[in-house]
Each structure stands twice: as C-alpha cells, then as structure tokens.
C-alpha cells in the first residue's frame, strides 16, 4: 500500500461488503499492514496501542489473581512436542521448523512455539517436587507462529501476539477452579473493557484444545452473523504432567502427578473490537481501549492560532491531567471538516470542537462518534462531562452489541430449521444436542456450522437433538465461525 492511496473515502461500505470493509479500515486507519511474507502482518502503532491497553488491563487482572509473568524459549525441540500424543497431532501440521543455526544443520529440528505447553511443562518438571511448590501460577506474553493457509489481519495470521497462562495444582478441584476463574476474568474483560458481550461455556470434544481434558471459551457474535472464539481456558487434567513427568510429593508423602491448566487470548481481540463496533464511516473504538479517547479539533478561522489554539492546548492539558487520553489535531494543512472525517474513520469515541464562537460563549462542542449527537457544554464543566460521555459511549457500545446478539440468537427444533436459519440468517442457533460427535459432524458437513458452546441450562423435557431427533442431553449454540 502506498501512502497516496490512503484516502478515507476509499473504505468499502460495511453494509455493502463486511469482509472488504474490515481489511480496508485496518489499512486506512493504519492499524496494521501486510508484510512481504504471505499471511504475516505488521502491527502499526495505532493498532499496537489498542493491544497495549488490552495487555495492561489483562496483566493487572492476572496479577490480582496471583499470577506472575515469566519468559520461556521460542524454540521447542521436536522430541518435546511429540511427548503428548494428541497435542502433537493437533499442532504438528501448522508448525514452522528451524533446521539450521548459523551455517550448521541442527541434529534435531526446533519447532517455533505454536503454544508453549511442551517447553513449559519440561521446566515445571524440574521446578516442582513437593506440594509446597504448588500452585505454580505463571503467565507469559509472547509471539507464537502457526502456519495458516487462509489468513486475515488480527483474526488469523501466521505470527501473532498473545498471553498464555500455564498453571499446576495439587488437586483436580483446584485446577478446575483455576480454569473457571480465568474464564471469568476473560468474560469480565471482554464485556467491561471491549464492550463485547460474550457467552462463556464449555467446548465439545471435537472443538477442544489438543491435549486438554476440557476447554472453556468465551464466544462472541460478529455483525456478519459469524461467531468468534475470543479466548480459551483449558483444564489439562494430568495429561501433560504424565507426558512430562511433573510429579510432586503430596501431603501424605505420596508421589502424584500435578493437575494443569492453560489459557490464552491474543491480538485476535483487536480484530473482534474492529468488527463488533465499526460502521460505514470506519472504526469505533471502545473508550477503555482507545489510544485516543477524545480528539480536540480547533476550528481554524481567522487568527485561530492566537485565539483558539491556546485554549485548545489548555483543554488538552486539563484532560491529560484528568487521565483522559486525548489528541489535539493542530495541523494547519487540513480543514476541520477533513479532520472530522479522518478521526471518525479512526474511531476516536468523542470529538471536541472549539472555535472562536465557542470561546465567546465559554463552551465546547462534543460529538459522540456512535450516534453523531452534538452537545454544547460549558467550558468550565467540560472535563467532567467528557469523562461522563466516555462512560456513556462505552455502555452504549455494549448495549448495542448485546441487542444485536439477542436479535440474532434463534431456536431450532430440528435439522431442517437449523440448516435454514444458518443458511438464510446466520447468527447463533440454540438447539438441543444428544451429545454424539457424529451428530455434530453431520451438522457441520451440512451447514458449515459448529457447536460454539455447550450451555449450562438443561434441555426442556422432550427436546430432541437437532441432528438426529433422539432425546437432547445438552442445549448448545450452533454457528458458522471465524
């Protein structure tokens, strides 16, 4: 992409072609760009700043629940990856291999981590020997590589950034507690920070993590009617402990294998935020993860540099002092109207206009990115009012997305209605399921929809499996997904 084609009117309308809109807005807003390598993206500062804000908040939440960060190697010897049978089967096809170091061919090739259970568990086996060493509660922020055939910026790329927590506990119950504790951290984070309503629940065996006993996830619905898995928390049971020999002496002085969990979210969340909230004019970034929560645009008439600009600068400083992330666009190469569109496209939730008339009237003009509503507020109270507006926009975004999901969650009683809804309306389809992997596979083949989450509710009596018609054991959500 050349700088010159970076003009805002060139974004495909979201209502016309969601998929093209998504890629257009990412490049025009300078969130990310393609690299010279297929499937590999570059995260530009504006996109990275969203990720940084996500990271900071998640990191606080992990630390508040007793976790500490560490850093494990990028490389995993092939023999380690092979120790857990299901795990290697799941990941080997998408691994990048290092076969040469300097000018020498390696005796054993190294996998670039697609996830780090294999290398981390091999270290835990050295560090853990007694119940006194437990629980081990470690997280790492890292890059991982998965050789993907079909890629999309942020949603599925060969290399991506994520956090991966890896814990070991003395009992099965504690591992399950941890798995659910983190699931709740993810749910809270998605809903309160990303304004992304999610359904938290269990995955089916077909959809679970390679090597886990059970996988929980948070699942969101995107505006094009497809589901997006936004985070996963795995109960690993003793699977990896057995494979890597993580044993500890318990309180009864018996040797026992440790009980593991692992969990992660990635830069995919940036993609979720872009898709969930944007509109035809471009991005809308939730205030709590917006690099700029407000942009001040001085109305450049007459001697504005002597009159309006000093006032705008003073307001900027007041907002910064109040902890609001604010940008003052004082360029004299562009008109206010151009700047309005530019910052709308970039998704800044609140615009603050100040012109000569506003100074006269001791006011500023606030414009809500979401509904374009204008309000005139007194200059004196405007810092508090801007803070209040940002909270309001955060809540509005969540409400809107929740309403969308409610309107796009439908019930299906049988195979035909399930297929019909998926085909014509997409969205989430609530249905009963008998629990058989065959039924799940048949639905997938017929509709391209998979079971996204097993719901906690028990099926109403007489509910029939939407695939085979036999008695339903679980209520589940079907959807096509990213």
């Amino acid at each position: 992409m050349n700088k010159k084609d970076d003009f805002i009117t060139q974004i495909t309308k979201r209502s016309e072609d969601f998929s093209r809109w998504y890629v257009d807005v990412i490049r025009r807003a300078e969130l990310a760009d393609y690299s010279p390598m297929k499937g590999v993206m570059v995260i530009r500062p504006y996109g990275y700043e969203i990720w940084e804000l996500m990271k900071e908040q998640l990191d606080r939440m992990f630390k508040a629940t007793g976790h500490r960060n560490a850093y494990f190697p990028l490389f995993i010897p092939e023999s380690f990856l092979k120790k857990e049978a299901e795990h290697v089967e799941g990941f080997a096809p998408e691994v990048a291999w290092v076969t040469m170091g300097g000018n020498e061919v390696l005796e054993e090739r190294y996998a670039i981590r697609p996830t780090s259970e294999a290398i981390i568990c091999s270290m835990y086996a050295r560090w853990i020997s007694s119940w006194r060493d437990l629980p081990v509660l470690i997280n790492q922020w890292a890059n991982v590589v998965r050789w993907e055939k079909v890629t999309r910026p942020f949603l599925r790329t060969t290399e991506f950034l994520w956090q991966e927590g890896h814990t070991v506990h003395a009992t099965a119950a504690e591992a399950q507690e941890e798995t659910l504790r983190i699931l709740e951290v993810y749910r809270t984070f998605a809903e309160e920070y990303l304004a992304l309503p999610v359904i938290a629940g269990l995955k089916t065996d077909a959809e679970k993590f390679a090597g886990a006993v059970s996988t929980y996830c948070i699942e969101a619905l995107m505006p094009d009617g497809r589901a997006l898995q936004a985070g996963t928390s795995h109960n690993l049971g003793q699977n990896f402990s057995r494979a890597f020999n993580i044993r500890f002496e318990n309180r009864d002085q018996e040797l026992e294998f440790g009980w593991g969990t692992s969990w992660g979210v990635s830069t995919r969340l940036v993609g979720a935020v872009i898709m969930a909230h944007g509109d035809d004019s471009g991005l809308i970034i939730p205030p709590r993860v917006a690099p700029f929560q407000a942009v001040i645009i001085p109305i450049s008439r007459g001697d504005w540099k002597e009159t309006v600009l000093p006032e705008a600068t003073m307001l900027q400083q007041e907002l910064q002092a109040a902890g609001i992330r604010v940008h003052l666009d004082d360029r004299d190469t562009n008109t206010p109207g151009w700047k309005f569109s530019e910052w709308e496209m970039r998704g800044v939730p609140l615009r603050v206009e100040i012109g000569p008339k506003d100074i006269e009237k001791k006011q500023v003009v606030l414009v809500n990115r979401l509904n374009r509503e204008k309000s005139f507020v007194s200059r004196e109270n405007c810092v508090a009012e801007i803070g209040r507006k940002l909270d309001e926009i955060q809540a509005m975004l969540f409400e809107r997305a929740l309403r969308f999901r409610q309107e796009n969650t439908r019930d299906a009683a049988d195979s035909d209605s399930l297929a019909d809804i998926i085909e014509k309306q997409r969205g989430l389809v609530r249905a009963a399921w008998c629990g058989s992997a065959d039924c799940e596979a048949r639905v997938k083949e017929k509709t391209k929809a998979t079971i996204r989450v097993i719901l906690e509710e028990t099926p109403p009596s007489g509910a029939a499996c939407a695939a085979c018609g036999k008695p339903g054991k679980h209520m589940v959500l079907f959807a096509r997904s990213y």
Copy 2:
C-alpha cells in the same frame, strides 16, 4: 537443577570465583534457569519482574521523547537480509533459519530476526513518501535470536528480549540528534535506575554495528575488571534507506533518501545489575528495579500469629499504599534466621523485622542489605523512613560502583604499560590512539583488550598512540569485555 539442591549456602563465593558466583546466584535466586536447548535460557518470574520494571521505565522515557510502539514480523526473508551488504555479512553467521512451514519446504528460507532493520526498512519504504511523513519514530519490544557459540545467562544467549528503536528523519542533522538523544536516555536510565555508572561515547569502526555510519554506546565496568556494553545507538545515515529505497519528497519537491537511526538495550541489563551490585551473600538489587523493595519478616515467637502477624500485615498494606513494592514472608515452615539469609540472597534492598518486643516499643527494625546496618525506627514514621532508606541505598549502590570504576581506570602511555595493566589489573585503560584500525587490531591480539569507547576529550599535546607511538588523535578506553 532439582529443587532440592536449591539451598542458599551452595552459592560459590563471589570473591573466590566471580564467574561461578554469577551463575550460582542466578539459579539459586530463581532469576533464570537453563532450558533443554544449549545456550537457551528460561527467565523465571523473579528475573522477569526485574526486566518488567526496566521495560516500564524505558517505555515511559521513549514515549516522553515522542516514540510509539509497534510490532514487526519475527521472520525476515533471506533476500531482504542480503540487501545491505555490511549488515548481512555481520549477521548471517549467527542466524537461525526457518526452512519448513507445516509439512512444506519453503521456496525462500526465513531468518529469525537477529535485529529488525531489514524487515522494518522494507515497510518504511511503503509508508514514507513525503517530508510530512517524517520523522518516523517507532520502537518495538521483541525477542531476537543469534546463534551464539559461547553463552552466559542474560549476558549472551541464543534468544533474548530487547527493545529496538528504528527512526527515519528528513535530515542528517536530525538523525544525529536522535542518535544522541537516545544515548542520553540510556545513560540516564542506567545511572538513575540501575545504579550503573556508564561512559557514553563513540565506538571505533571495528566495533560498530554492521551497516551503521557510527555507533554510540554506554559502557560499564564490571567488578571482575571487564567492560560490558550495556546499550547502543546507531546513526545509520542513508545506508539502509538506499538498500531499501526509503525515499521522500523533501520541501523543495526533490526525492531524497531518508536518514535513519536504530538503537537497543536488552535483557543483558539484568546481567549487568546482578554482576555490578551483588556480594558473597548473593544479589543486591537496586531499589528502583527491585521486584520487592522491602521484605517484612515477622519474628515468630509464642503467639506471633495473633500478635505480630496482624501488625506486619497492616504495615504491608501501608507500604503498598505508599507505592512501595513489599513482600511479607509469613511462612511458618521456616525460622526468621533462615528467612534473613534467603532474602539477602535474593537481594531485597531493605529488611523490615517486627517482633513482640518491637510492638511493645512501638518500633520496627530496618536492615540495609548493602552494609547490614540496623536501625530502629518508630512504627509511626516508618513508612516515610523506609522510602528514605530506599533512596539512600539506591544512591549508595551508584556511589560504590562509581568509586570502583574510578579506582579501576588507569592511564597507559605505551604498548607495554597497556599490556601490563590489562594483564595484571584489568579494568579500563585510558590511552591515546592514532586512529588506525591496525593499531587497534594489534592491541587486541596482544592483550585481548578492545577499544570500548572513543572519549570526547582531545589528547594532551605530545600524547603518543599506545600501540604505535605515533601522535595520538583520540583518547580512548581499552578493556577486555563481555
């Protein structure tokens, strides 16, 4: 390493064998551990927390000087690495190569970044077209890989963590300004946060970065008399812009190549802190980067859990509220004496003891890790006093390291005295140098010492090159180095 051999008395004395002490203390204090791969280390939570504190402060300093973070790919196509001739010559011998993705052999192999100029410059070429796009001021926090033959934890490992800044400017003068601005950021950070006195200056051509016009560095002296390069800032001139075709239309509407810089510091700084400040009992971590600045040890006599522990917990909360990083060691499995040694070994700068008698006397006991000085301070004022003590310890560490460097910087007038000092006393040797690469190489061959920094001062008249005896052009510092 097994947990069981993790006993503190097993650290080799620093005064006996500096090298073994260094590795012992890293493993016993759980800063890092060896991975199953040669030359690859794992950074454990206690070590990673030191790096996190360094990162946070450096990141603030980079942002305060106008830089933004981004993220570029781990992979660099081989053809890109080859575009800058000196660059590839310098780095190719230590590159790890990815030759397979999934089950397919790649058409072109990918280097794992040893540094990112090649991939970043290829993106800058797309993003930059006008003087209005300049300066570009981007930093990234990332892992890099260099296939090293001889490794040491933190100081030289196959994979390490670092930051790398990459900037482009419209003029040569601005690039030089940036190079020196960052050098000053590094100097300030090393001295004020790591308590590490450094000499900032220019490298010789033989020691400069492969592809740079000039390399500046901060150089520290370690207690074993060897120098350590702790950070570098490179003026790249137009070298990479020419190789990657980064051109912009200047204000006179002429096409011109951009002027570049790059600069970095790494987890090596954790190694520098360990070496510079530790003693026979273990680590001493400067308060400003210490994961725990203070540790509270309740004296466990009689009904201490009912009497002492509540008081200790209250103090912990007060200290946390005052922004002090504090740990309360309330384990009942270990004696106070054992805990004293344990936390001394782990380098916590200040110990706070509270026992039944102290509660009676309304006091706490503070013990300075550096000089073991005890002070009894009133419970009422102790939070402020602990803050003051931490500042004092930070200053004492810097003063001590500075005094050591001064005492170990010696002048050499000729080749023999230079060799003699390096052989018998090590340390930094100040000498005149004629500027010839031959002379530099000859000294290196004879003494294993290299020119660490070209000093700014001009040689006194009549000063002769310490290698050839011809008139000296520069004053330089020679030393053996890490």
